[in-house]
C-alpha cells in the first residue's frame, strides 16, 4: 500500500513515543531473581543462580492451569563479557523449559523439566507444594573460562500453550529436525500456529516476560 513519506516519518515518531523502558518486573509480584553463587572458586568465577518467585500468586497462571492450558516457563541464561566502552560480548547461553499442567481427574499438577540431559517429571498434589517447586533455584554451570569482567543475563518467558504448541515444543526439544529437513509446513498450517497464538494472546491469555541480570564480577 503506497503511503507518503510523511507517513513514514510520523510512524517513526509514533514508535519513538510509544517506546517505553522495558519493565524488568511485573506489578503482580512475580519476580525473576538472578544472583551469583558465592565467590568460593579460585580465580573468582561465579555461577548464576536463577529463581522465580510468586508465580502462583498471580491468579492468571493458576486460572490458565485450571482451564486446562499448560503453562510453559522458558528460562534462558546468557553469559556476557563486559568490554567497557565497546559492545559487550555475548559468549554463550543455556536454556531449559519447565512445563506445568493440571490433571483434573487426579487434581494433581505435573511439572516437567526439559533439558538435554533428559526430562524430569514430578507431580504435586497441593498448590503449596507446586508453588514451592516452582520456586526452586537453578544453578547453571556456565562458568567463564578466561580472565575478564563478566555478568549474567537471564530471561524468563511464561506463556500458556495450546495442545498443538505443546506437541511442537516437545518435538523440538527432542531434537526433531523434521520441518527443517522437508521445508514444508506441518498439519495445521492453514490456521497458522503464529496467528493462533497471537489470537489467543490478544484474547487475554496470559504471557509474561521477565528479565534480570547479575552484578559484574571479575575472573582472574
Amino acid at each position: 500500500m503506497p503511503l507518503r513519506f510523511a507517513a513514514l516519518a510520523a510512524s517513526i515518531a509514533l514508535l519513538g513515543a510509544m517506546s517505553l523502558p522495558l519493565r524488568a518486573q511485573e506489578p503482580q509480584g512475580v519476580r525473576l531473581l538472578v544472583t551469583l553463587s558465592p565467590d568460593s572458586v579460585a580465580g573468582g568465577a561465579r555461577l548464576p543462580i536463577v529463581r522465580s518467585e510468586n508465580l502462583l500468586s498471580d491468579g492468571r497462571w493458576l486460572s490458565a492451569l485450571r482451564s486446562g492450558l499448560p503453562v510453559r516457563l522458558h528460562y534462558r541464561v546468557e553469559v556476557w563479557r563486559s568490554r567497557g566502552a565497546w559492545f559487550d560480548l555475548f559468549l554463550r547461553q543455556a536454556e531449559w523449559d519447565v512445563l506445568v499442567r493440571h490433571e483434573p481427574l487426579l487434581d494433581q499438577y505435573t511439572l516437567l523439566t526439559f533439558t538435554a540431559g533428559g526430562t524430569q517429571e514430578r507431580r504435586y498434589a497441593t498448590l503449596d507444594a507446586l508453588s514451592a517447586a516452582l520456586a526452586f533455584s537453578y544453578q547453571v554451570n556456565v562458568r567463564p573460562p578466561n580472565p575478564g569482567i563478566y555478568y549474567y543475563g537471564a530471561v524468563l518467558e511464561i506463556s500458556t500453550l495450546s495442545d498443538s504448541d505443546l506437541d511442537e515444543l516437545e518435538r523440538f526439544l527432542e531434537g526433531d529436525l523434521g520441518d527443517v529437513a522437508t521445508g514444508g509446513g506441518s498439519i495445521g498450517d492453514a490456521l497458522g500456529r503464529g496467528a493462533t497464538r497471537f489470537l489467543l494472546r490478544l484474547a487475554g491469555l496470559p504471557s509474561l516476560r521477565l528479565e534480570g541480570r547479575t552484578q559484574r564480577f571479575r575472573v582472574r
Binding site: R4, F90, T115, E121, Y124, A181, G183, D189, A190, G194
Partner: protein, 578 residues
C-alpha cells in the same frame, strides 16, 4: 559437548536418586551434558508410599478425608492420618501423624508426640511448636487413590504426560501407538480451497532408540475442479524408520505443490488467500514417490540423500471463497512443463538456533543440490530470450542449487542483529522448466517492492499469472531488533477491582530496522543476461529499507525500495521475516 553445539541443550544434572529428596530446592543445569531423551520420573520412594498406605489403612489409625483442625486446648491420642486435605494442629496430638497429598500445618502452641510423615505436600511449621519424634516430608504427590471402603490403595501410573500432549485421538495397542487425525492440511489456496487431511499414523518403538512410523493420509480438496475424481482427492503415504542418528524414509503422494516457497510463508499465504483473495504462490500437481536416507551425526547437523520420481502436471485455479473481494477474479495459475521427472538430491541442514519460531541466537544453514531428468517433458512456449528449446523425446536434464544461510546474534542483552543470505537457481544442464524458475519482489525477500516486481519477463511478454521466469536469484537481508514495552491494550480488573487482571492487547514488541538487497536474473550471454559464471554486480541489486514492529506472532512494517523510486509499502506479517 563442544561449544559449537547448540547451547539450547541444557542438561539437568540429576543428583543420585538416593540423595535426591523431593524438596531439594537447587537444581543444577549443565549445558554441556550429553544429550539424552530419557524421562526420569520423580516421586516419593516406593517403600515410603507402602508405609504410608499401611499406616493409613491400619485399623488403629483414625482416617480423615479432607481438611481437619485440632484446635488449641484440645488433644488427640493415637494414630492420625489425613488424605487430600490440610491438617491444622494447634492443640496436642499424642501419636504418629501422616498426611497423604495434603499439607500439615503446625500452628503456634501445637504439640506432637510421634512420628510425622507427609507425602504429597508440605509441612508448614510456625514458631512455638513442640515436636518429639522423627519427621519425613516428601513434596511429590503420593500415587494413591481412595477406595470405596475408605482405605488407600496404590494407584498405577497413567500414561505419561507426553502422551497427553496431543489434540489428536491417540491410543496404544500393544507396542503400536495409533493416532487418528482429522485436520486442515497444507494451506488455503486458489487450487484446493481448504484441504482436509484425514487418516491414521502408526508409531512403533522397537527399542528406546528407534522409531518406525507409517503415516497414511487422505486429502479432500474443498475447491477441486470437479471434472475428475483426482482433482478432489489426494493422498500421502509416508514411512520412516529411524534408529539413533540414522533414518530411512519413503513416500508416495498425490498432492498440489507450490512452485516457489516465497514471498510469504505457507500459513501467511493461506491467510492472505482466505481473507483478501490474494494468493501469492503458484502451484502444480505432483504424483509419484521417493525415498531418502539421512544421518544426523551430531544434533544440529543433518545430511540427506534422496531420490524421487514425479509426474508433474499443470492445474487450473478454481474459485474458492474468500472473506473479502470475493467477487474479484483470482490470479491465473501458470501452466508448467508437464512430464515425468526423476530427481536425485543431496541436502545439508545445520541448525543451532535456540528456537525454531523466534530464534535469538545461532546459525541456520539449509543447502540443497538436485539433479533432475525427464524423457517426456512437454514444455510450454516461452520466449527464446528466456529459454532455448528443450530437448524433446529424452535427454532433458538440469541441476539446481538452493542455499539459505542465517545468523542470529545478540549485540547486547536487548539488541539483536540477524542476517540472511538466500540463493536459488539453475547451475547446470538444460534450462529450468517453468516449475523450477524463480522471481523476486514481495513481502518476504524484498518487501519494498511489489509482488514479483522482478520476473525476468522480456519486454512485451504479458502473462496474467505474472509468471516467474528467472534462472537465478540471490538476496541478502539484515535486521536490527530491540525490545520495546508498548502496553497497547488494557488490563482487566480482578475480583477486588484492581487493574491487575488479564492484559488484552500487545504488551511488548520488537522494534525492527531492516534492509534487503537482491537480484533475480537470466543466466547467459544474451542482452540483459548475466554470464553463467557470474552473479550481478552489487550495484545492480535492488535495495530496500524499512522499519517495523514485531510482536512475535504479528508484525507491521513500512518498507521502501530505494533503487527504483518505489512508493512506501505497508506490510503485515504473521511470523518473523526469517
Amino acid at each position: 559437548m563442544s561449544h559449537t553445539k547448540r547451547l539450547l541443550v541444557a542438561g539437568l544434572l540429576l543428583l543420585p536418586s538416593s540423595a535426591l529428596l523431593a524438596q531439594d530446592s537447587v537444581i543444577v543445569i549443565d549445558p554441556d551434558a550429553t544429550p539424552s531423551d530419557t524421562l526420569l520420573r520423580g516421586g516419593p520412594p516406593a517403600q515410603v508410599v507402602a508405609e504410608l498406605i499401611a499406616f493409613y489403612n491400619d485399623s488403629g489409625t483414625t482416617r480423615i478425608q479432607g481438611d481437619v483442625s485440632i484446635p488449641a486446648g484440645s488433644s488427640f491420642e493415637g494414630g492420625l492420618a489425613v488424605h487430600r486435605g490440610a491438617l491444622r494442629i494447634s492443640g496436642r496430638v499424642s501419636g504418629p501423624v501422616a498426611v497423604a497429598n495434603g499439607t500439615l500445618y503446625l500452628l503456634p502452641g501445637a504439640i506432637v508426640d510421634g512420628e510425622i510423615l507427609v507425602v504429597g505436600g508440605r509441612l508448614i511449621r510456625s514458631a512455638e511448636v513442640r515436636h518429639d519424634g522423627g519427621e519425613r516430608v516428601f513434596w511429590d504427590a503420593a500415587p494413591v487413590l481412595r477406595r470405596p471402603d475408605g482405605t488407600l490403595a496404590l494407584r498405577e501410573r497413567r500414561r505419561p504426560l507426553g502422551d497427553l500432549a496431543t489434540a489428536r485421538t491417540t491410543f496404544q495397542t500393544g507396542r503400536v501407538r495409533t493416532t487418528l487425525l482429522l485436520a486442515t492440511g497444507g494451506t488455503y489456496n486458489r487450487i484446493e480451497g481448504l484441504p482436509i487431511v484425514f487418516g491414521p499414523l502408526f508409531e512403533l518403538r522397537p527399542t528406546p532408540n528407534s522409531t518406525a512410523r507409517l503415516d497414511l493420509r487422505g486429502l479432500l480438496r474443498t475447491a477441486g475442479e470437479g471434472s475428475r475424481l483426482t482433482s478432489d482427492f489426494g493422498y500421502g503415504v509416508g514411512a520412516e524408520f529411524r534408529s539413533g542418528s540414522v533414518g530411512v524414509t519413503g513416500r508416495l503422494y498425490s498432492e498440489v505443490a507450490s512452485i516457489e516457497d516465497q514471498p510469504l510463508a505457507l500459513s501467511e499465504s493461506g491467510w492472505s488467500a482466505f481473507l483478501l483473495q490474494r494468493d501469492y504462490r503458484d502451484y502444480f500437481e505432483r504424483r509419484g514417490g521417493g525415498g531418502s536416507i539421512w544421518v544426523a551425526p551430531v544434533r544440529p547437523l543433518r545430511l540427506e540423500v534422496s531420490m524421487r520420481r514425479d509426474d508433474e502436471r499443470s492445474v487450473r485455479a478454481t474459485d474458492p471463497w474468500s472473506l473479502l473481494r470475493n467477487s474479484d477474479s483470482w490470479r491465473r495459475n501458470p501452466l508448467v512443463d508437464d512430464g515425468h521427472y526423476f530427481t536425485t538430491g543431496v541436502a545439508l541442514d545445520y541448525d543451532t538456533r535456540n528456537q525454531r519460531d523466534l530464534p535469538t541466537t545461532g546459525w541456520f544453514l539449509r543447502a540443497r543440490f538436485e539433479h533432475s531428468t525427464s524423457d517426456d517433458v512437454a514444455p510450454v512456449a516461452l520466449p527464446a530470450s528466456v529459454r532455448p528449446e528443450l530437448p524433446l523425446g529424452g535427454g532433458y536434464a538440469f541441476d539446481r542449487l538452493s542455499l539459505d544461510l542465517r545468523r542470529y546474534s545478540r549485540l547486547t542483552p536487548s539488541l539483536r542483529i540477524n542476517a540472511r543470505i538466500r540463493a536459488d537457481g539453475w547451475v547446470g544442464g538444460d534450462r529450468f522448466p517453468v516449475q523450477r524458475r524463480v522471481s523476486l519482489g514481495g513481502p518476504d525477500l524484498l518487501p519494498g517492492y511489489d509482488f514479483r516486481a522482478f520476473t525476468c519477463a522480456p519486454r512485451g511478454f504479458l502473462d496474467p499469472s505474472r509468471l516467474a521466469l528467472c534462472d537465478r536469484s540471490i538476496t541478502a537481508q539484515v535486521e536490527v531488533r530491540t525490545r520495546l514495552g508498548l502496553d497497547l491494550g488494557y488490563r482487566t480488573r480482578d475480583r477486588e477491582g484492581s487493574p491487575t487482571g488479564r492484559f488484552i492487547g500487545i504488551e511488548e514488541a520488537d522494534l525492527v530496522f531492516l534492509a534487503d538487497a537482491g537480484d533475480a536474473w537470466l543466466a547467459g550471454s544474451g542482452p540483459g543476461q548475466v554470464p553463467v559464471s557470474r552473479i550481478p554486480n552489487f550495484g545492480e541489486w535492488k535495495v530496500d529499507v524499512g522499519i517495523g514492529l514485531d510482536a512475535g506472532e504479528i508484525g507491521a512494517y513500512l518498507a521502501k525500495g530505494i533503487s527504483e523510486g518505489e512508493p512506501i509499502k505497508l506490510l503485515v506479517r504473521l511470523q518473523r521475516r526469517f
